[in-house]
């Protein structure tokens, strides 16, 4: 049994470097002029890009590390979303992993269909339609997958807004009646999307070319655009499902909500196992797993989506909306008495959290190139929950650092390290990390970082104005001395 000391040292250094990198990103985004932020971001991006580049025989981060990095980005988004739902809004959810899976499968299906587009297509018609239409219209008008899903998401969104208007007009409509209306709307929207989307999609079949001579629709820029669309559509799809699911279920108390979301995760996974039998998606191949997803996730995409999640999350939390979301966690009754629409903010944070998970799913699917229902098992779904608690409930920094630390320590260091002790040894990491978790909960129940935030994620400061008339009015109550004695 050999123990590779060099590997150990190098891995530890890598973990430290990754965490330092996270710190740098948050510091660079912090209170600075815009140009400084942009330079900081560019440096943060460039450093990793450089580390991923092979110079001669030397490469700081090999393909294994690259995978960890992408997974860490995806995990950060999932965990940030969960922190919004659980840490900031106080709704204990086990459904995050299900939304992650939904986003992954939805995005993967779109790009999979794209690369398997009509390979013997007619070029001329495809090119004409492409130049005329696609460039101008811009969004989800491309191939079958993009089109149907894109239209579905668009119509779904329009439907939700439309029904929302209607529901508002009838005050006091029971939540289940609302839910039924939304559901009917969703089914109609899906049906319309298929009916309208398929014929239009067929018109584009020509652009794909053959395997030997790929058409214009298979050129890299268009593929990248399709990839972006696919990820966005996957994310919005997950968000819309979370809206439908959350509407009736969020009226339950937090613990019951947790059980219901656990049910959701299991439903999603069961459907995944049966995609080719229960659902009409033979390309997903059910329990055997979906292969042949194009590996289009690049570091640039992962980084962009990571930044998106961090910035949106932070801006959301430090706004009136964020305070309303936190008031739900702190005290629902007091929140109501302060004029906060509790139900609305529960749903809002649930939908935004699921959007993050859905987007992360798309990033993950196109990095790994293979989706299997096993990945989205609800047991694995506890990982983001553990990360959020580990990093500190309600600490965005903690979640980000814990996600990166988790991937690089557990999957990166421990798995390989233990692997050197024997083929069965890696299983021991599932003994080691629960013990670590146990110790942490005993020694630091508020999580690793408690509610400490770094740089950008610190609460913005609004210094008091000089001419504040504070002192002039000071009346009883404040400094008041006990009267009448």
């Amino acid at each position: 049994m050999t123990f590779n000391l060099q590997f150990l040292v190098f891995s530890v250094l890598k973990i430290v470097a990754v965490l330092a990198w996270v710190y740098f990103v948050l510091w660079a985004l912090g209170r600075k002029p815009l140009w400084a932020k942009l330079v900081g971001i560019a440096v943060a991006f460039g450093v990793v890009q450089l580390a991923l580049t092979k110079v001669g025989d030397f490469q700081v981060m090999n393909d294994f590390d690259r995978g960890l990095l992408f997974q860490a980005c995806a995990m950060t988004m999932v965990a940030l979303g969960l922190n919004l739902i659980y840490g900031f809004n106080g709704q204990f959810s086990l459904g995050q992993w299900g939304f992650y899976g939904l986003g992954a499968y939805a995005a993967a299906d779109i790009t999979y269909r794209w690369v398997n587009g009509d390979a013997s297509g007619v070029f001329v018609a495809g090119l004409g339609v492409l130049l005329g239409g696609a460039m101008i219209l811009g969004v989800g008008r491309l191939a079958s997958g993009v089109f149907v899903a894109g239209l579905g998401v668009l119509l779904g969104g329009a439907m939700i807004l439309g029904v929302g208007r209607l529901v508002k007009r009838y005050k006091g409509m029971p939540i289940l009646s609302q839910f039924t209306l939304y559901l009917i709307g969703a089914v109609l929207a899906g049906f319309l999307a298929v009916v309208i989307g398929n014929p239009i999609a067929r018109a584009f079949a020509g652009g794909f070319g053959t395997v030997a001579a790929p058409g214009i629709l298979q050129s890299v820029p268009i593929q990248q655009a399709v990839f972006l669309l696919a990820v966005l559509i996957g994310g919005v799809f997950a968000a819309e499902i979370s809206f439908l699911f959350g509407l009736p279920v969020l009226t339950l108390g937090s613990d019951y909500f947790g059980i219901a979301t656990l049910g959701f995760s299991i439903v999603v996974q069961t459907l995944m196992v049966n995609t080719d039998t229960l659902l009409p998606f033979p390309e997903m191949k059910g329990g055997r797993g979906m292969i042949g997803i194009p590996k289009w996730t690049t570091w640039a995409w992962a980084f962009i989506f990571l930044m998106f999640a961090i910035i949106v999350m932070r801006n959301l939390i430090y706004s009136s909306t964020g305070r309303a979301i936190m008031s739900v966690r702190e005290d629902e009754t007091a929140g109501k008495a302060m004029g906060v629409d509790i139900a609305h903010y529960k749903l809002l944070s649930f939908v935004i959290g699921s959007l993050f998970a859905g987007l992360a799913g798309g990033i993950y699917a196109h990095y790994i190139g293979f989706l299997s229902p096993g990945t989205f098992d609800f047991i694995v779904g506890f990982n983001p929950l553990i990360i959020v608690v580990f990093g500190g409930l309600g600490s965005m920094t903690g979640t980000i650092a814990a996600s990166f630390g988790w991937l690089f320590f557990l999957e990166g260091l421990l798995r390989v390290l233990l692997g050197q002790l024997g083929t069965e040894a890696p299983t021991w990491r599932y003994v080691l990390y629960p013990i670590t978790l146990l110790l942490l909960m005993l020694l630091r129940p508020q999580g690793l970082l408690g509610n400490v935030e770094w740089g950008f994620l610190k609460r913005p400061i609004y210094p008091p104005r000089k001419d504040s008339p504070a002192a002039t009015a000071a009346p009883p109550g404040g400094e008041l001395q006990p009267a009448g004695e």
């Binding site: 005050k171 006091g172 949106v312 801006n315 959301l316 706004s319 009136s320 909306t321 964020g322 305070r323 309303a324 936190m326 008031s327 702190e330 005290d331 009754t333 007091a334 929140g335 109501k336 008495a337 302060m338 004029g339 906060v340 629409d341 509790i342 809002l348 309600g394 509610n451 609004y462 008091p464 104005r465 504040s468 008339p469 504070a470 002192a471 009015a473 000071a474 009346p475 009883p476 109550g477 404040g478 400094e479 008041l480 006990p482 009267a483 009448g484 004695e485």
Partner: protein, 276 residues
């Protein structure tokens, strides 16, 4: 910048600030409140008293929408409140505090007040996420306003402290300030003096007087501390077992044998006034 206008309780002498008729709440087989009537005139500082379990807090919870009444009407300046969501009732102009203080414990005092401003933030979700100019202005304005507001109550020293770390009396004051920040026309105080020592009660009385005058508010309060009620309330309503047993000025109530009996039992009626 002027202070948020805490609307003076106008509306003409004809329309009472709060009019409750036939309010009833039945929990299972228990009639917690039965046929409760109450009228509060604009600008009044009235009290609702009664022994433990008389149904006072239940009345408050029905006014503020936390409980749906089994029966009856609640009108705020002539506008019906029954059937509205609690947050809508708050936005219509009823502020309240709770018997067991309900601050947002893990948020700062400033944030507690800012949440009360939330319905009038003046910017939406996307302004916040995209950090638009609108967000910048409104957020800044809102925070300045909250600071000035806290300064009025002498709470600006503690604005950045977590609410849970404050001493009890200060938490109570923050809670009242927060309720006022929501700009109510009618303020409901549920046992503001609970758990306070005589010194603190003395200060609380001045405090309540102060907000009543300063903001020209209509106040309805529940209280056990007879000293406080007798000193500051203009009219009292006494409840027992969910029913009104007496109404009148503090003086009248003090000498009402039915009230003394409800509080102290039959034998104590002889020593009326002394204990109260």
């Amino acid at each position: 910048m002027t202070h948020p206008t805490l609307v003076p309780a106008q509306g003409g002498a004809a329309v009472p600030a709060l009019q409750i008729t036939g309010l009833t709440k039945i929990f299972g087989g228990l009639r917690a409140v039965g046929n409760f009537d109450l009228t509060v005139q604009p600008g009044a500082l009235d009290g609702l008293i009664g022994p433990n379990g008389a149904g006072k807090t239940t009345v408050f919870n029905m006014i503020s929408g936390l409980y749906v009444p089994t029966n009856g009407e609640v009108d705020l300046y002539g506008e019906p409140l029954v059937g509205l969501e609690p947050f809508e009732i708050t936005q219509m102009g009823i502020g309240r505090t709770f018997q067991n203080i309900r601050l947002f414990p893990n948020l700062t005092v400033l944030d507690n007040v800012l949440i009360a401003y939330h319905p009038h933030a003046g910017y939406g979700l996307f302004d916040g996420i995209l950090r638009t100019a609108r967000f910048g202005n409104k957020e800044r304005e809102m925070i300045d306003r909250a600071r000035e507001f806290l300064a009025i109550f002498g709470l600006e020293r503690i604005q950045d402290q977590m609410a849970r770390n404050l001493p009890y009396g200060e938490q109570r004051r923050v809670e009242i300030a927060r309720a006022l920040a929501a700009n109510p026309k009618l303020l409901l105080l549920d046992e503001p003096a609970a758990g306070m020592n005589p010194n603190e009660i003395e200060r609380l009385m001045e405090y309540i007087h102060f907000i009543h005058d300063r903001f020209n508010l209509t106040i309805l309060l529940i209280e056990h501390q007879m000293r406080l009620v007798m000193n500051i309330c203009q009219n009292l309503t006494v409840m027992d077992f969910g029913e009104v047993i007496a109404r009148g000025t503090p003086k009248e109530i003090q000498n009402n044998p039915q009230v003394i009996e409800a509080y102290l039992g039959r034998g104590a009626a002889a020593r009326a006034g002394v204990a109260l």
